[in-house]
Amino acid sequence: MLTVKSLRKAVPGGRVLFQDLNLTVDKGQFVAITGESGVGKSTLLNVLAGLDSADAGSVAIDGVAMESLQDDALTRLRRDRIGFVFQAFHVLPHLDLAHNVALPLVLQGVAAEESLARSAAMLEAIGLGGRGSDYPRQLSGGELQRVAIARALIHRPALILADEPTGNLDPDTAAKVMSLFVEQVRHAGASVLLVTHSPVSAAVADRVLHLTRDGLIGHA
């Protein structure tokens, strides 16, 4: 599903975040990457999503080499095959929940009616049924992250990239959200790459890797 070979990334100024990083994620596999703050976990996700470029190495999703793609093609790849969950939720404040969740579908060109119907079903699945017309400001942090999870899954992506999805939540809520997240991705059969510094969150993964300057430690 995801193949990363000899990846290297340094920040402006020359400090190397990681080098010679190799990783393979199989279809339906849940992989967690842990590491200290500032080690480059989010940067790695950005590189894997085509939002940032590596200094060396290659990334391939379903055999498609990302470095060979131009900006528009990378965007289409993200649109069709990747779902994102962020630590800061990033739910659009001016759209109601139904439209927020349906956004990836309409970006794919799915008709508005169908998108909203699937959005309603998705909201139902994450426990927010009937609240499609609510706006994000009416929701708690845990509810917002559930909306973000719904949005990441609605277009049935092959790969979910999750960046500290429970980092902004209290432990109880974090546990519930993580449980919902695992349940949904398993149900969807998507591969997951989760970056976190929380051992509790990482524990739900099939594999746990540790990011260091010299690459991933563990079974890549």
Binding site: L95, V106, L107
Partner: protein, 846 residues
């Protein structure tokens, strides 16, 4: 599934509609800004078009249906022997001789009296013939010696009806006529009277003279050949006029004024464009993380650009539609209230009807949309260039505060603007002058980030102990692109307003100074209609000079003189040269004329219109003589826009045999009572002239002159005021939007112990600083642009110059207004932003 290359229109619609639903007032302001610009542009254009169409109609009315006309070049007319000569030219079917007189009806109503030969006019200009009220149609009964036909406007102006008697005065003669019918071919608003040609010549001292010949060409005539044959036969003092040349003449007289009004209206549109830019920039800056998210979710770069463009397009279309409706209403109201020339004094006569111009409406609609789209160009580029991964972190300003903003592009614009100001007029219009102003404006806006940084450096170098002030200066310093965005709207509207204000103040001051120079006497006596009621003959002048209490006296006569058929007639002014009564406001001194040459002094407008320069030799077509004259000097004359030529009074009398004068300047001896001297003067003036005498004191004329100036500039004040209001609303919208976008920052400041009051003071200080910086920059740029108006646009449009005067008080008021507007808006917006509780504020997602 969406095809590659297709845009996700549903997603865009969702994003756009949700943005507008959340911030309707911001969208509304942008729509209104465009609407006002389009409305002003279209209104001014429609008013000008209606006025011109009415003016052309008037020319056509007086000309009847003639194919060609021969006109006199001065009021004196030409000999009637030309009539049979032209009648024999091959290709001319019929000639209708006309005596055309400016006259007063019942001593007050100005009308044009045409003396016609009814048999000829019936074939050449049938529309000029009257309809008898008694129903008789026999041409032989058409006129008796006392009959006159009046148009409805002439009857209305004189208060007379068919069947009544009316006194007509012209060329120093007066006679009573019986109104026997009306002129159905003359449209409303044209005061015209028609009498028999022989009566006109006899009763008004025009025996043997004509002012006009109307010509009808034969069906198969070769027009060019006929024109050439006529030209070969024309004597001095007569010229050929076609409808085209008449239209050119009327167009040329007011074209620059109309173009300048159009330009002022476009300034409002330009300000609207900047407001759209400002609104869109802020909107894009605020939504940068949101844009980043939808980029991450799968919207291509061009999708974002398209979304920003679509927003601008809808704003432009809505603004244009509203503007077009407003424009038509505004034009109708202005025509009704101010008249067709909006107070400019170019068109006289009745109130013209509004004629809608679909082409112009479409053009202004497109301009409105274009202004909106151009205003969103840079914001769209910013949105597209933004890196999603970085933007999602919402790290703040797009410009690194440590980097000194570049000024190369700004300097290029400014240099090109300065260079453009040296280019000549294009077809009589200051196209490069306006282009130069636009470039200066663009350069001024582009240099804002650098200037803001430079001005703020003065604060940053100082150690500021007040928490609020320190936070305010550091915020502006640390967010240079946001400061520049807010400043661009302020600078655009302020600079345009200051440029116009400096020009108008300079012009007004120069006119005031000029009025003192050209009105040195205490009293001014004039005869109505500049001589149509006769003039002061030589004997009367001699008697007037010797009246007790008169220190000195000057006599003057003004007559129209046509130098070219396609240009408006200049005024030939015969007046005393030298001595206290004969001082002219010369621009570059006076040259001594070569022996045997007659010196004349040409006004600035005549210099510009005809390309006459000091030291040139000319031949003037004056009443059958063609004196060779020497241009001894150029003088400043704001009173006669079509140009004037001054000739020594005695020389004029020698050349024309006409010693009569119609304007007298009287300086009183010290201690003389004006009323007593006036009574003595009236006693020596013939009673027939005393009835037409009008007396003014110099201060009254000056006051009237300034009032006329203010009246003619009233519309420009209005056109200036609107961009300022649009600009101030823009400032308020910008500051308010920036403030409300910082709720999270305020929450954080409250968390770390900054008092609510200190945050409010910080916001007021930020707003005030922005207002002051924008005001200073706008005034500096405005003064530079005013020099283009004063030294390029005015001389190229109107052919007159002026001395720059700086309205310091206005500058102070503008800066205070901007500081208050920006600071006040920040205060209100800040209070609203602070009403969100601190805990919730820091949790704000975006």
């Amino acid at each position: 599934m969406r095809k590659d290359g297709a845009l996700p229109l549903t997603a865009m619609r969702w994003m756009i509609v949700s943005e507008w639903r959340t911030y309707p007032s911001r969208t509304l302001i942008a729509v209104l800004a465009i609407a006002i610009g389009v409305a002003l542009g279209l209104a001014v254009h429609l008013i000008n078009g209606s006025a011109l169409s009415e003016f052309d109609h008037a020319i056509q009315t007086v000309s009847g249906d003639a194919d060609l006309q021969v006109h006199t070049t001065s009021a004196a007319g030409f000999g009637e022997s030309l009539y049979p000569k032209l009648a024999r030219v091959p290709g001319i079917a019929k000639v209708s001789p006309v005596v055309e007189l400016n006259a007063r009806a019942e001593g007050h109503a100005a009308i044009t009296v045409l003396g016609l030969d009814v048999l000829s006019a019936a074939l050449v200009t049938p529309r000029l013939l009257g309809r008898r009220s008694d129903g008789r149609h026999d041409p032989n009964d058409f006129f008796s010696g006392e009959d006159i036909y009046l148009s409805s406007a002439a009857m209305h102006a004189s208060g007379k009806r068919v069947g009544q008697w009316i006194d007509i005065a012209s060329m120093g003669h007066s006679f009573s006529f019986r109104i026997v019918g009306d002129l159905p071919g003359i449209p409303a608003g044209q005061p015209i009277g028609v009498i028999d040609i022989a009566v006109a010549q006899w009763r008004f001292g025009q025996l043997g003279k004509l002012q006009r010949l109307d010509l009808r060409l034969a069906a198969n005539a070769d027009r060019a050949q006929v024109l050439s044959a006529i030209s070969a036969r024309l004597p001095l003092g007569a010229e050929m006029v076609t409808r085209h040349s008449e239209e050119q003449r009327s167009d040329g007289l007011s074209r620059a004024y109309r173009v300048n009004l159009d330009m002022l209206a476009l300034m409002a549109l330009l300000t609207g464009g900047f407001l759209v830019y400002s609104a869109q920039s802020l909107s894009v800056a605020r939504r940068r993380p949101q844009f980043a998210l939808i980029r991450v979710l799968g919207l291509e770069r061009r999708g974002l650009v398209t979304q920003v463009f679509l927003e601008a397009l809808v704003v432009g279309v809505l603004g244009s539609l509203v503007g077009l409706v407003l424009g038509v209403g505004l034009a109708a109201a202005a025509l009704h209230l101010l008249g067709s020339d909006l107070g400019g004094g170019y068109f006289t006569g009745g109130t013209p009807h509004l004629s809608f111009a679909p082409g112009a409406a479409a053009a202004f609609g497109v301009l409105g949309i274009a202004a909106s789209i151009v205003g969103s160009l840079l914001p769209a580029r910013d949105a597209a260039r933004s890196q999603p991964a970085l933007a999602l972190k919402n790290l703040g300003d797009t410009i690194d505060p440590r980097v000194t903003p570049r000024i190369r592009i700004a300097l290029i614009f400014l240099l090109l603007g300065a260079a453009g100001s040296f280019a000549p007029a294009v077809n009589g219009l200051p196209i490069f002058g306006y282009l130069s102003m636009a470039l200066l404006l663009a350069g001024g806006i582009a240099i804002m980030p650098w200037l803001a940084r430079t001005l703020l450096s003065l604060f940053m170098r100082r150690r500021i102990t007040n928490v609020s002030l320190a936070l305010a200066t550091q915020r502006l310093w640390g967010a240079p692109s946001q400061a520049a965005m807010a400043l661009s709207g302020i600078v655009a509207s302020t600079s345009l307003m200051i440029a116009m204000a400096v020009m108008v103040v300079s012009f007004r001051g120069s006119v005031e100074a000029w009025l003192y120079q050209v009105l040195p006497a205490d009293l001014y006596l004039s005869l109505d209609d500049n001589g149509t009621s006769g003039g002061f003959d030589a004997a009367t002048q001699a008697k007037m000079r010797h009246v007790d209490g008169v220190a000195w006296m000057g006599f003057m006569k003004e007559t129209p003189l046509r130098l070219a058929p396609d240009k408006p007639a200049v005024w030939l002014i015969a007046r005393t040269i030298g001595g206290p009564a004969g001082q002219l406001p010369l621009l570059h001194g006076s040259l001594v004329a070569p022996p045997n040459d007659i010196p004349v002094w040409v006004s600035e407008p005549a210099e510009g219109i005809y390309g006459i320069h000091q030291g040139d030799h000319l031949t003037l077509p004056i009443a059958g003589v063609t004196p060779h004259v020497f241009v001894a000097g150029i003088w400043r004359d704001y009173g006669r826009q079509q140009g004037s030529i001054v000739m020594d009074s005695d020389t004029y009398t020698r050349l024309t045999g006409d010693a009569s004068r119609s304007i007298v300047s009287v300086a009183l001896k010290a201690g003389s009572a004006p009323d007593t001297v006036l009574d003595r003067l009236r006693a020596v003036i013939p009673a027939s002239l005393v009835a037409h005498l009008s007396v003014s004191r110099s201060q009254e004329i000056r006051a009237k002159g300034i009032a006329a100036f203010d009246r003619s500039f009233a519309i420009t004040y209005l056109l200036e005021a609107i961009p300022i209001l649009v600009g101030l609303v823009g400032v308020a919208a910008t500051v308010s939007a920036q403030t409300l976008a910082r709720i999270k920052e305020f929450g954080m400041l409250r968390h770390i112990g900054v008092l609510r009051r200190q945050i409010v003071v910080m916001l007021i200080a930020e707003g005030a600083l922005l207002g002051a910086m924008g005001g200073i920059a706008g005034i500096g740029l405005g003064v530079a642009m005013s020099q283009i108006l004063i030294r390029v646009v005015n001389p190229q449009s109107f052919h007159w110059t002026m001395d720059t005067r700086i309205p310091w008080l206005l500058f102070a008021i503008v800066i205070i207004a901007l500081v208050v507007a920006a600071g006040g808006t920040a205060l209100f917006a800040g209070r609203r932003a602070l009403s969100t509780d601190a805990v919730r504020a820091v949790r704000e997602d975006w």
